[in-house]
């Protein structure tokens, strides 16, 4: 089968009009003379190395400094990056990507298939010790698991440079969303000579060689990063922004003050402030679906409390959470109450009929009380549980509210705040009773969520085990249409309640009215600086 992704209409249109025109090539909007964009970062960037970075904030920058096989368009559709098209074998297990000839590194070298081979092996190689090595395994690349486990040599990875502009990947099983996984930063190519020359410091300004639309001009730890437009990027003619600046501001309220003073073009809206800001700045305050889910994970392992082994107790806890209050009165940013695990806006996902989602909160609470009473708990003889959460104002508020929802039901919740590192460590060692957890999709497909609760998943820290669930998820990998299996898997989660779903994320931001091109319609919220522009006021 041969699939050819045509250049999108946007691209073919934009090619015709030079970027320095005072109007936007597609929309015809008048452009500002000031093509800069400044946005907020909470913390210092940990790494700009595509194979080392693990953070969303790092990925945002990496997408501008590097380019992978494919990019995401404004609504999340695939757009060609370094690859212009791909072929897929009849058994659907070999992908051949055709790379564009005009892609260049910022030092002038051509981008070749060997750069991808190098980067992908680097990601899987345990000697390099990438925290994202598992991603190669998730992509089912041949031998990835063995290499990461140390039982096979890195050069046995199922990737090959057929020639300079043809990159071949062999995978273990058909994976319909395989091309979509190549938009992830960890699969981006790196320039081998530069990496080898500078070692760990190759991503510093002056050293770094990238193939993205921007180059790194400044990176001052804990203060700011400055990106400048890359004139030899293959699509530079359609790039509009000249400078992108990321400012580190360790306090979100402070960041908002500085946004209002005009120092930032984009910042986060603190929990609870969206309605007020929306009323005051209707064109600036925005809220859009964001593919992450917020849950309380319950420890069902041997180390977990006996009370949580009772399905009815787990259900009661979930019924007792007043999600409307969490989203409407605590967060107030357009988040949605969650009764399931997969984010509601995930592509192709059909929400199952979850019974308790249809009840009123009063009915849920009545049922919760009934179940808890049957299990022998009451305010006089309360069920005592401890909740671990990592330090954050919003997590704290939600935890306090939920403790109050549960109190009249006869559940006494002790809050246990700790740093992220400790929190995660405890979760991985099943040293918790209940733990706050959130997951953001790595790609726009339900399996990125649902794989998590298979018994063989490395992230199933509550040790939920359901044979049926495992079977469904295994089958979904090769099914022509996996969606019914996803729906059935969600149904199992709703029945067994190994986690308490709380809400589905929204990205709640202040975006300066003259900045356009931020793809808020993409549930992954992945943005590319080359798509952004500033219109004249």
């Amino acid at each position: 089968m041969k699939t050819k992704l045509l250049l999108s209409t946007i691209l073919s249109l934009t090619l015709a009009v030079p970027a320095w025109a005072a109007t936007h090539p597609v929309t015809g909007e008048e452009l500002s003379a000031n093509q800069t964009y400044t946005y907020w970062l909470l913390d210092a960037i940990k790494s700009l190395d595509p194979q080392i970075n693990t953070d969303v904030e790092g990925s945002d920058l990496i997408r501008s400094l590097f380019e992978g096989l494919y990019n995401e368009g404004p609504t999340g559709e695939l757009e060609p990056g370094v690859a212009t098209s791909y072929d897929i074998s009849d058994d659907k297990m070999t992908y051949t990507f055709h790379l564009r000839a005009d892609a260049k590194w910022s030092n002038g070298d051509p981008v070749t298939a060997n750069d991808f081979v190098y980067a992908w092996r680097r990601l899987a190689d345990p000697a390099f010790a990438s925290e994202y090595a598992w991603y190669m395994e998730l992509m089912q690349v041949v031998n990835a698991a063995e290499i990461t486990a140390g039982t096979a040599a890195p050069d046995t990875l199922g990737v090959r440079a057929v020639d300079d502009h043809t990159f071949e990947v062999k995978i273990l099983a058909p994976l319909p969303y395989f091309p979509a996984m190549t938009v992830h930063g960890s699969t981006f190519p790196v320039h081998q000579a530069t990496v080898e020359k500078f070692g760990n410091e190759w991503t510093l300004p002056g050293n770094i060689v990238g193939n993205g639309a921007y180059t790194l001009a400044e990176h001052i730890h804990g203060e700011k990063l400055v990106l400048k437009r890359n004139p030899i990027y293959w699509d530079d003619a359609n790039t509009i922004l000249e400078t992108v600046t990321a400012l580190t501001i360790n306090d979100e309220n402070q960041a908002l003050t500085r946004f209002l003073a005009g120092e930032l073009d984009r910042t986060n809206v603190p929990a609870g402030q969206y309605p007020r800001l929306k009323a005051e700045y209707p064109d600036v305050a925005t809220s859009s679906a964001y593919s992450c889910s917020y849950i309380y994970m319950l420890n069902l392992s041997d180390k977990g409390p006996a009370s949580l082994k009772d399905t009815n107790v787990r259900r009661a806890l979930s019924y007792g959470v007043n999600r409307d209050i969490i989203v409407d009165a605590v967060l107030q940013g357009g988040q949605k109450p969650a009764f399931n695990w997969t984010h509601w806006a995930t592509a192709g996902f059909t929400m199952p009929e979850i019974e308790y989602a249809g009840w009123t909160q009063a009915a849920r609470e009545a049922k919760a009380k009934e179940l808890l009473t049957a299990a022998g708990y009451s305010p006089a003889n309360p069920l005592r549980l401890t909740l671990n959460y990592n330090t954050s104002e919003a997590h704290k508020k939600i935890a306090i509210a939920i403790a109050q929802f549960w109190k009249p039901l006869g559940v006494e919740l002790t809050l246990n705040n700790m740093e992220w590192q400790v929190h995660t460590d405890k979760m991985q060692n099943q040293d918790f009773e209940m733990a706050r957890y959130a997951w953001c999709g790595d790609y726009n497909e339900a399996s990125t969520y649902l794989d998590l609760f298979t018994s063989y998943s490395g992230h199933n820290n509550g040790k939920f085990y359901s044979e049926e669930y495992d079977r469904l998820m295994k089958e979904s990998k090769t099914a022509a249409d996996p969606q019914p299996m996803y729906t059935a898997a969600e149904q199992i989660l709703a029945d067994e309640m190994p986690v308490i779903p709380i809400y589905h994320y929204a990205k709640v931001d202040m975006i300066a009215a003259d900045i356009k091109g931020i793809p808020t319609a993409n549930v992954m919220q992945t943005w590319y600086a080359k798509e952004l522009y500033r219109v004249a006021k």
Binding site: N253, Q273, A329, V330, T391, A399, I400, Q404, L415, M418
Partner: protein, 308 residues
């Protein structure tokens, strides 16, 4: 904030310099103290704050944990201070009664201040008195150790301690107390040293006054004055330290709260139309620190009268 070393030294010199008769010293001091308007005002404020901490809970119309669903989500519009709905100080961001929360914060901050100061004074006094009394090489080693500890960035160590041993109120008490005894030990050692060789003590010894009586009549009153003044002035320092730790998120944890935690929350939201969340806790914080300061200062001036 800092404890004024000139005045401390002057007080210590005076208390070690003269033969002070226990009763008359304190009787005179009391008279002078009550003539000092600032000190008496401070004492009054402290008593009021203490009453607020003790009886506040019974005045509050809400518990410090209950969420008021009728104001939740519209704090800026409906959560302000109001006599009508019983939120005298308004509510916090989650609709919890700020009056009840401030009462709780007052209890905890006062406790941290007083316990921390007590630990510092006890450890410092024993350490200093021991070093001064034994003297010689032991004294030398002990005081070198103090020198060494003095040049350790204690806030860094405190942060490390809280990170390592988890955030608990016990750790906070200990940590805050244990980093502040160094100055105290130096003062007490100096006092003990100079007292040992004072004529009036030697005279008392020569006339056959028992050692117990000497300690009771001469050494204790001398040390007591310094210790009392120092302890009073240390309390606001401890409260300030706690507030900084709470600002870093390493202080007392929910559902408990302290002034530092409340102020830091209120400072974050001060531009969001909920200024009362900062104003009330900050008010109590400020007047209490002032009060401790005036009382401590007044106590010292009363024990060491001079025209200042």
């Amino acid at each position: 904030m800092v404890i004024d070393s000139t005045k401390m030294k002057s007080l210590a010199d005076r208390l070690a310099g003269d033969e002070v008769k226990g009763r008359s010293l304190w009787a005179d001091a009391r008279k002078r103290f009550f003539k000092n308007k600032a000190a008496v005002g401070g004492l009054l404020v402290l008593l009021l704050v203490l009453a607020f901490a003790v009886f506040g809970t019974s005045i509050a119309r809400y518990s410090n944990e209950t969420l008021d669903f009728s104001v939740m989500g519209q704090i800026a519009e409906k959560g302000g201070p109001s006599l009508a709905n019983g939120h005298y100080f308004g509510t916090d961001d989650l609709g919890r009664d700020l009056f009840a929360r401030t009462v709780q914060g007052t209890q905890i901050s006062l406790a941290v201040g007083i316990v921390g100061s007590a630990i510092a004074v006890l450890v410092g006094t024993f350490y200093g008195a021991f070093a001064g009394y034994v003297g010689g090489r032991t004294d030398n080693v002990m005081m070198r150790l103090v020198d060494i500890l003095m040049s350790i960035p204690y806030m860094f160590v405190l942060i490390l301690l809280l990170v390592v041993f988890g955030r608990s109120i016990i750790m906070l008490f200990m940590g805050i107390g244990l980093i502040s005894w160094l100055d105290m030990s130096r003062i007490v050692r100096g006092q003990t040293l100079s007292l040992k060789h004072k004529e009036f003590i030697e005279a008392a010894e020569a006339t056959g006054v028992s050692r117990l009586t000497i300690i009771r009549r001469h050494i204790v009153p001398n040390l007591l004055g310094v210790v009392a003044v120092y302890a009073t002035l240390l309390v606001p320092l401890m409260i300030l330290t706690e507030s900084f730790i709470s600002f870093l998120g390493l202080g007392v944890q929910e559902p408990l709260t302290s002034w530092g935690a409340l102020i830091s929350e209120g400072a974050g939201t001060m531009n969001y139309g909920t200024l009362w969340q900062l104003a009330f806790p900050l008010f109590f914080f400020v007047i209490t620190l002032f009060a401790f300061f005036f009382v401590g200062d007044g106590l010292r001036d009363a024990l060491d009268p001079k025209d200042r």
